[in-house]
């Protein structure tokens, strides 16, 4: 970005900066250029606004502006040259050195805009070279005539000049051959070149001695556009591209130029080239300043990607590839000249990726409770369309690698959405002209669509995509309340063994999937499964962090800024969140239904240590310790009081408390879930009641139970039978009387103790055996107990599937292990991640 560039953008302000620059040049020091750049950058930021407000000004006095800008620059140079000449006379090499540096910088700028190097510079170079040489010569002859710093500057100067001469070798040579001709040539060049790179054209032309007046009559607002013709398009494009990424390039201006170029472009090739450049520069626009791309910019980028895809999809003679052979950027190419397909360097898939990432980033940073968020969210539809178009394009050209990536992107947009949203998204796709093979209308249902997309990804060779597709697929099944399929898929994928070595994003997806599976089980009334599934994640107590829905505050550890940043980038946008309060409610309620009857069934303190759900037990203990309990406010309060009511056998109170939890309204099919819960509470209430009060009865009428718990007699009988069969209840049914007959033996103290000691001794032998196992090296050591461990992995999982009854003993260890792995995995990843960053 230099004054030349800036000038057309904000003409009215030119007077001032130009002036200041003049001033600076007059009494400059070497550091000035730095501050110069800074100030320019600042002014860039408000550039956009200025440009519009000053548009009228521009029309008023273009001549003055242009003259001053160009003259200023040349004057600057010449002034520098003068100073140098003067310094040369007094042999002040320090001053020369400084001035030369400045000059080189100015030339560099000139060069950035691909303007010809002024003859003046070349002349100066040549004179400098000779004078340096002669001075050096003199120095050798007459010793110790110069002070140390001067001598130093002289040698430095020698190097610099040498380098500069080398850089401009051809010009210097030409000049040396015939200085006159060279200068003439230069003047001609700038005069003739009326449409050179970027906006500098008119100005150079103004300097050129020829037809000043003509030039200015045609240059107006419209005239400026005319300059970008399709013939010179590549030159313009190259100019823009060369300026790209350099320190003082005005990005907004570049985008504007490119936009004009798109309109001008005549052939497909030109359009593709310009679009590629335009989209990249849009993405470049604000890398450092703000957290995300402004929506307007994003939208135009999205439209341009669409345009690009359409062009390439419509004409199979053009192909955009990441790797191509070198070609001349300045030459128009067509299928005819290339004999076949024209290959252009670029990557649509990276644009799509970037577009999607920017979208997510903007959602991460916009306040989710404002209207802005909702507005932004509406853009998902167009984004989804773009992704689908890209998919269609890759399907057509059968490029499997980018196709996989683009399908993954598409899947990520729909896998967690309810049907209605997917339908809306798909409806938008249906209207577009380029459609992928898999659409909702073609597949019939969302599940089929997700299935089709996933199946493609399973077949693709990329294992990361496969894993993610698998998880998304499971998530979708869970969302659709298809618990069995989701569970089987999760178990068969064996992901829980390898997930801790996956990348963080995949781990998050895994956690989400597991949690959704748990919720699905809960909705389907599979309380035990829900409890077991959600258990893992709740024991870590870092639910939010594991789901990437909030940053966990670590108590003893301060996060470095990089860690914090990385963490922030991982967060999911708000609309993808799984409501943690709902999650907790589901978990605690299912824990209650599992745990309370269990609590009631155990008698001795010893057995009380067998805890299924630690978080629940902790809350319950806490609630027990409170002296006074007020009316419930939070979800937890509700559940705790409900648990107590259940313990006391008051199932109706329990039901009312549970059903009055407000958060259920967030759950789809809330009514049926509540109904299901009521039924479960009745059943578990009956069980708890029997466990708790059995010692006080010798017989108990079934019909009474049926009435108390408003359950049909048959259900009561079935429940009681089950308890008797499982030896949970020492009783028998008397059919003729319709009663339960309890058989209870009161153990004497010594009998009880004898049992306890027998248990303890058995436990000790177990421990010893385990210890020996470890000492002997693993499970294959000795004894015959290894068959249990040697079961295939799925065996273990099946046990897991079989539910709680059997795993009470092993489960705790297992769950703990897995829970640890959960957190460990994430932690490790985080460390290594940030470590890597620091390394870079």
């Amino acid at each position: 970005m230099s004054s030349e560039d800036e000038a057309p953008a904000k003409p009215s302000t030119t007077a001032k900066p130009a002036m200041s620059r003049f001033l600076r040049t007059a009494g400059s020091d070497s550091s000035s250029s730095d501050s110069d750049e800074d100030s320019e950058e600042d002014s860039d930021a408000d550039n956009g606004d200025d440009a519009e407000s000053n548009a009228s000004n521009e029309e008023d006095k273009p001549q003055i502006r242009i003259l001053s800008a160009v003259a200023k620059r040349l004057n600057e140079m010449e002034a520098t040259g003068k100073v140098m000449e003067n310094a040369l006379k007094i042999n002040d090499w320090m001053a020369i050195s400084n001035e030369f540096d400045k000059l080189v910088r100015m030339i560099q700028r000139q060069h950035n805009l691909s303007e010809p190097i002024p003859a003046f510079y070349v002349r100066t170079l040549v004179t400098l070279e000779t004078s340096v040489n002669t001075t050096l010569q003199k120095e050798k002859e007459a010793k110790k005539k110069m002070n140390a710093s001067n001598a130093k500057a002289l040698t430095a100067m020698k190097q610099k000049v040498k380098k500069a001469v080398k850089d401009n070798e051809t010009e210097v040579k030409k000049y040396q051959e015939d200085p006159e001709a060279f200068e003439r040539e230069y003047l001609n060049l700038i005069a003739r070149d009326s449409t050179p790179a970027a906006a500098s054209g008119p100005r150079v032309a103004a300097v050129g001695a020829t037809d000043d007046v003509d030039e200015f009559t045609t240059v107006g607002k419209g005239g400026k556009i005319q300059q970008y013709t399709s013939e010179s398009i590549f030159k313009d494009l190259q100019a823009v591209q060369e300026a790209r990424g350099k320190k003082n390039t005005d990005r907004a201006e570049q985008i504007r130029i490119l936009e004009i170029l798109v309109d001008v472009a005549a052939t497909s090739y030109q359009r593709i080239r310009v679009l590629l450049a335009l989209i990249s520069s849009r993405f470049d626009y604000n890398s450092s300043v703000s957290t995300h791309m402004p929506p307007e910019l994003w939208l135009s980028a999205q439209r341009e990607v669409d345009q690009l895809v359409s062009i390439v999809a419509a004409d199979s003679n053009y192909s955009i590839q990441e790797m191509t052979e070198d070609y001349d950027e300045l030459v128009e190419r067509s299928p005819a000249t290339e004999k076949g397909i024209v290959r252009i360097r670029g990557s649509i898939i990276s644009f799509i990726d970037r577009l999607d990432d920017e979208f997510t980033r903007s959602l991460q940073n916009i306040d989710p409770h404002g209207t802005e968020y909702v507005d932004r969210l509406k853009d998902e539809k167009v984004l989804y369309c773009t992704i689908c178009r890209a998919q269609a394009f890759y399907e057509k050209t059968s490029q499997s690698d980018p196709l996989g990536r683009v399908i993954m992107r598409r899947l990520e947009h729909i896998y967690s959405k309810p049907d209605a949203v997917v339908q809306a998204l798909e409806a938008a796709v249906d209207t577009s002209d380029v459609k992928p093979l898999t659409t909702l209308t073609a597949q019939g249902s969302t599940s089929a669509l997700v299935h089709a997309l996933c199946v493609y990804l399973y077949k693709s060779g990329n294992s990361l995509l496969r894993t993610r597709a698998m998880l998304s697929h499971i998530y979708h099944h869970a969302l659709q309340n298809d618990f069995h399929t989701a569970r089987d898929m999760l178990l068969m994928s064996h992901l829980q063994e390898s997930i801790h070595s996956a990348d963080v994003a995949t781990q998050i997806l895994y956690n989400r999937t597991v949690v959704q599976l748990g919720l699905c089980a809960f909705r389907s009334g599979l309380i035990k499964e829900a409890q077991a599934t959600l258990q893992e994640i709740f024991t870590t107590q870092r639910v939010k962090e594991l789901l990437a829905q909030g940053v966990h505050q670590q108590r003893f550890q301060v996060m470095t800024p990089e860690q914090e940043k990385a963490e922030k980038q991982r967060q999911l946008p708000f609309h993808m969140h799984i409501n943690t309060e709902l999650l907790e409610a589901a978990f605690l309620v299912s824990s209650m239904l599992v745990e309370i009857p269990l609590l009631a069934s155990i008698e001795s303190e010893e057995q009380k240590r067998k805890v299924i759900s630690k978080p629940f037990r902790r809350l319950l203990d806490f609630a027990d310790r409170q002296v006074f309990t007020g009316p419930p406010e939070s979800t937890r309060d509700h559940i705790m009081q409900a648990s107590k009511a259940l313990q006391d056998g008051e199932w109706e109170k329990c039901r009312d408390l549970i059903q009055s939890i407000k958060i259920w309204s967030l759950m789809p099919e809330a009514a049926s879930v509540k109904e299901m819960l009521a039924k479960r509470i009745q059943e578990q209430g009956l069980r708890t009641y029997l466990f708790t009060y059995a010692p006080h009865y010798s017989t108990l009428s079934l019909s009474l139970l049926s009435r108390t718990f408003s359950l049909p007699l048959k259900t009561v009988t079935s429940l009681v039978s089950k308890m008797i069969w499982n030896e949970e209840l020492s009783a028998s049914l008397d059919q003729s009387g319709g009663v339960i007959v309890f058989q209870r033996i009161e153990l004497s103290r010594s009998q009880q103790l004898a049992q306890v000691i027998a248990d303890k001794v058995a436990a000790m032998v177990d421990q010893n055996e385990k210890a020996l196992d470890i000492k002997m090296g693993g499970t294959g050591g000795w004894g015959e107990r290894n068959d249990g461990n040697k079961n295939e992995k799925r065996g273990e999982q099946i046990q897991e599937r079989r539910g709680r009854g059997e795993r009470t003993r092993g489960a705790r260890g297992g769950a703990r292990g897995r829970g640890a792995r959960f957190s460990q995995g994430l932690g490790n990843q985080m460390n290594s991640h940030t470590g890597g960053q620091r390394g870079q």
Partner: protein
Amino acid sequence: MAQYDLSKTLIPYLDRHLSFPLLAHLGETGLFPAEEVTVAQYELAKGTNMFDYAKGLFEGIYPGETVPAEFDQKRTNAVSTNERLQQEAQAVLDVIENPDVAQALRQDKNQNLQYLKDNYNLTLDQITALYNFGQFQYSYGNYTGAADYLYHFRVLSTDAELNTSAHWGKLASDILTGRWDVALEELNTLRDAIDTRSAPSLLGSTAAQAQGAVLDPALGQLHSRTWVVHWSLFVYFNHPQGRTLLLETFLSPTYLNTIQTSCPWVLRYLAAAAILSRKAAAGLTTPATPLSPRVRHAIREIVKVIQTEEYQYSDPVTEFLRELYVEFDFERAQKALSEAVDGVLANDFFLGEFKDEFLDCARFLVSEAYVRIHGRVDIENLSERLNLSQEEGEKWIVNLIRESRMGADAKIDLEKNVIDINRPPQPVYQTVIEKTRQLAVRTQALGVAIGRPPQQAQQQQQKPDQAQEVLVN
């Protein structure tokens, strides 16, 4: 009752030849129109070399039409091929049947090959002729011959893939000839081969199995296991000890997984086998071999599996177990039972013969559960649950009490027409004794294990009682 017929699901997992008996059975049951079954048989036979059979079927289907000429042509072809293959095979056979050779052959196959090559000029190619001839014989229905040749081939050949294929072929031949003992042996070796090797070569060329191009090993193994599961049904439901062995095999984790993943319908046979072997498991008859815990707790295991797989598969047989052991709804269990016996078992190819035994065992299960839950049982009620008349019911119950060890606890009160069951709870000292019984032995084993150097300890898979002996010495 056609909805419970599994033939259609089973046949894809069977060899062409193995499907004939199934189809013939279908023809007998009359679940499907006879013509359709015959057409199906014809379609099957067309693909084999059993031309006469196919011809007969063809005439049956299209009476009056001339038999396509291709049959005769194929027939002559087959006969000539047969002769050629026989000659090739005969050369090898001559050598092998020489008693000198038979003596010289050792365990090591490579050495054997070398020996045959050196002394009798037999090469691997010639031995392969055995395989070819065996396979050809199989294709036209000479199963005994096929089994012989394939057996000889397997003894000599080192080609893993052909060996596996020969395995399958021999198993099929043995099944079709009805030599169940041999088939059982064959089945076990085949299973071992599948379990130990995970190479994709397991997918032998047997019949339609070679459809997949390149499958990954795990998938290949799953496929082979699925096939084994299906083929073994033939053996297990015909061999006298088959049911117990079936439970033993199918309940092992690998096969249970296979069933759950790829063929949940086999659960029917698993459930039926469990019910059938229930009496044996309860220790009423004295089995020669002690039963493994797996078989003893078969029903419990199976009920769990049935519960998990309920969403995938259920039929009256599994329904019966579920109602009985999960819901404890005796009425519905009764209903499911009668449906299972009349609708499913009567028409099932494998289970048909066990219909009565199944009913008997199922009743036993019902009454066992009933009696265990109830303290006082109305005989009338129980008879109803068992689908018996009162008198029959009484007899049945008396037998039950006599046979089972409830004798001491249960008494029939004829006046009130009830059974009183008085099961005193286990005394505390007994439980303590039970708990501590094993401890001494286990501790001794520990001591011995510590005494040994670690490597030795790892090599010897020591049983506690052995350990005891060591200690005594």
